[in-house]
Subunit: 337 residues, 2 copies
C-alpha cells in the first residue's frame, strides 16, 4: 500500500477509525485489551504514521517550535541551539531553526513563515527592540513567544536573560584585583543592551576603586574577530595599557592577534578577559580568562518556559548568572611598572 491512512488500519484491524484514533492517542478508557493489541499489531506491521496535516488541522498543534537566532556563525549560538533542541525533543517537539542575520526584514519574514507553518511557539533572539511589525506579528498572531538573550521587552514577554551587568562587573573586579589600573574596554555595539550593560557593570567595578571614567579607554566594536583585532591594534599602538576587557570571546581572539603582531605578551604585558566562554577559548594559547554564560542551559530553559506557556498558559521569566572563569590570559600587573 502506497500510504497507509487511519482508514486502512481500521479496515485491516476490523474496527472503526475512532478506535484506531483512540489507540493512537493513548486514550486508555473504553477499549478491550484485545482490541487494543490487535490495532497496535496492525499499526506496527504497516509502519503506519499519522499525518500531521490532518492531525494539526483538528488539534491546531504542530508540535513545532521556531527558534530565530541572529547568527549561527558565532559559536555562541550552536550551544544554545543544542540546549533548546534537547529540551524540545524531550517534550516531543521539533525545532525549526532560523537565522535572521540580525536583520529586521529577515526576522519578520521568518516570523511570518513560522506562523504559516503553524508552529506552536517561537523563541526569539532579536534585536533589542522588536520592530513594530514583528511585535504586531507576535501579538496579533497570538503565538506564544519567549525572548532569549536579548531584548528590552523582557517585561512584556516571558524571557531568558543573562545578568550582563554582573558579568561586566565580574570582569572589572577581576582586573582590578590583579592590580590593573590602565584598562581598556572593547565593547559590543552599544545599541544592544547586552553590550551596554556589560560596560555599565565593568565601570561600576572600576569606580568602586576610585578610578574615574578618564582612566577607562572605551571603544566600540561589533562582536567580530576583525573588530577586536583592528581596535586592539590601534589601541595598543597608541596607549600604554595593561589590560583589556573584550566584551565577547570572538573579539578577545582578535586582541590576541593584535598583541601578537605588536609583540606584546599575554598575560605578561597585557591581561585579556573575554565574555561568553565559547567552546574553543579554553584551547587558545594562552587559555582565555572569560565570563561564562551557560548557553546550553539558557537554550533549554527558554524552551521549557515556552512549552509551559503553550501547555498551561503560564508565563515566567528567568535570569541567569554569569561566572568568572579564570584561566591563563590574565595575570597580576607587574610591580616594576
Amino acid at each position: 500500500m502506497a500510504k497507509w491512512t487511519i482508514k486502512d488500519i481500521a479496515k485491516k484491524a476490523g474496527v472503526s477509525i475512532t478506535t484506531v484514533s483512540r489507540v493512537l492517542n493513548q486514550k486508555e478508557e473504553g477499549m478491550s485489551e484485545e482490541t487494543r493489541e490487535k490495532v497496535i499489531r496492525v499499526i506496527k506491521e504497516a509502519q503506519y504514521q499519522p499525518n500531521q496535516f490532518a492531525r494539526g488541522l483538528v488539534t491546531k498543534q504542530s508540535k513545532l517550535l521556531g527558534l530565530i537566532v541572529p547568527t549561527i556563525a558565532n559559536p555562541f549560538f550552536p550551544e544554545l541551539c543544542r540546549g533548546a533542541e534537547d529540551e524540545a525533543n524531550k517534550r516531543n517537539y521539533s525545532l525549526v531553526i532560523c537565522n535572521s542575520d540580525d536583520k529586521s526584514e529577515k526576522e519578520e519574514r521568518y516570523l511570518r513563515v513560522l506562523k504559516e507553518q503553524q508552529v506552536d511557539g517561537i523563541i526569539l533572539l532579536s534585536k533589542d527592540r522588536l520592530s513594530p511589525s514583528s511585535e504586531e506579528l507576535i501579538k496579533e498572531g497570538k503565538i506564544p513567544c519567549t525572548l532569549l538573550d536579548r531584548g528590552i521587552e523582557g517585561n512584556k514577554y516571558p524571557a531568558v536573560f543573562l545578568d550582563n551587568e554582573t558579568g561586566g562587573y565580574l570582569a572589572g573586579k577581576h582586573l582590578i584585583d590583579l592590580g590593573h589600573r590602565r584598562i581598556s574596554c572593547i565593547t559590543g555595539p552599544l545599541s544592544i543592551r547586552n553590550s551596554f550593560e556589560r560596560v555599565i557593570g565593568f565601570r561600576r567595578a572600576l569606580e568602586e576603586t576610585g578610578l574615574d571614567h578618564q582612566d577607562l579607554l572605551q571603544i566600540e566594536g561589533d562582536f567580530t574577530i576583525e573588530s577586536g583585532y583592528e581596535l586592539a591594534k590601534n589601541l595598543l599602538m597608541k596607549n600604554d595599557i595593561t589590560a583589556i576587557f573584550a566584551c565577547n570571546d570572538l573579539m578577545a581572539l582578535g586582541v590576541y592577534q593584535a598583541a601578537h603582531e605588536l609583540n606584546i605578551k599575554i598575560p605578561g604585558e597585557l591581561s585579556v578577559i573575554g565574555f561568553d566562554d565559547i567552546p574553543i577559548v579554553s584551547s587558545l594559547i594562552p587559555k582565555l580568562t572569560t565570563i561564562r554564560q551557560d548557553t546550553y542551559e539558557m537554550g533549554r530553559k527558554a524552551v521549557q518556559l515556552l512549552i509551559n506557556q503553550i501547555e498551561t498558559g503560564k508565563t515566567e521569566s528567568v535570569q541567569f548568572s554569569p561566572s568568572l572563569i579564570t584561566r591563563e590570559s590574565t595575570a597580576a600587573r607587574k610591580i616594576e611598572e
Copy 2:
C-alpha cells in the same frame, strides 16, 4: 476576528473561496483585474495567512526540509547549515535542523519525526553506512533524501561529497614540498570513510616521494580538540618529527596546545596543517595552514539537489574539490637538521 480563514476573506470580499484560493496561488487566468485587487486588499487588511495544515492535507507538501547533522558543536556545521538555509529560503522552503549526536538511535528517531512532520525531503549527514532501519525508513517512506559530507551509499542516493582523497594528498604534497620527511598524521576515526580517504591521499603524496609507510607515524584521533592534544603530546614527547597533519582543524588546535606545552615552536620547529578551514583558524597564532572545503556552498548545493529532486524527480550527485590554504603554521624544514 480571532483567526481569519479563507471563508472569512471570501465573504468579506464578496467572492467565493475558490476565487480567493486562486489569488492566493497566483493563478493568473480566469479572473478580472478588479476582482483580484479587491481580494488582495481584503487579504492584506486582515493580515490573512493560509493554514499550512489544510493546504498540506490537499497538496501533500509541507515546504519543510529536514537537515540532520552529527554535531552542531563542530564549527564546521553551522556554516553548512547557513548555506542550506539560505538556499532553502530562496526556494521558499523552511529548514528543520536536527542534531543526531552521531548516534543511530537519534538519527532514526529524527527520521521518523521528520517523516511524521511531512517534510518534503531530508538532507542527511549520517554515519558512513546507514543503519538498516534508517535505510528502510527512507526507502519505504519514499522521502527524497540527499546525503551530505559522509556516507558510502553515495551511488544509491543523490549526494554531495568532498573529494577527501585529494584533500589529503594536497596536505601531504605541501609538507613534502616544504622538505619534511619525518611526518605524523593524526587521523579521524578510521571507521569514517572521510577520515580514511584523507589518510589514503596523504599517503599517496608521501609515497610519490619514495617515503614508505614506516616513515609515517599514524595515530587515530576522534576529531575533537582533546584527542588532538593528547595524541600530539604523546607523539611529540616520544618522537622527533617536523610536521603533523591533523585531519581536522579542531585536532590541529589540540596540536597547538601540545606543542606550546612542550615548548616546541610552530612553524619553526614543527609544521602543522589542518583540514576544513573552519572560521576561527585564520585567527589563531600562528594562522593555521589548512585544507579548505567550502562548507557553505556544500550546504547550498545539497538543498538545491534535494529541491530539484522533489520538484522534478531528477537526482544528481556532486563532488566538491578541496583547496590548500597556505597560512603561517607550515614552513620549510630547517636546513641544519
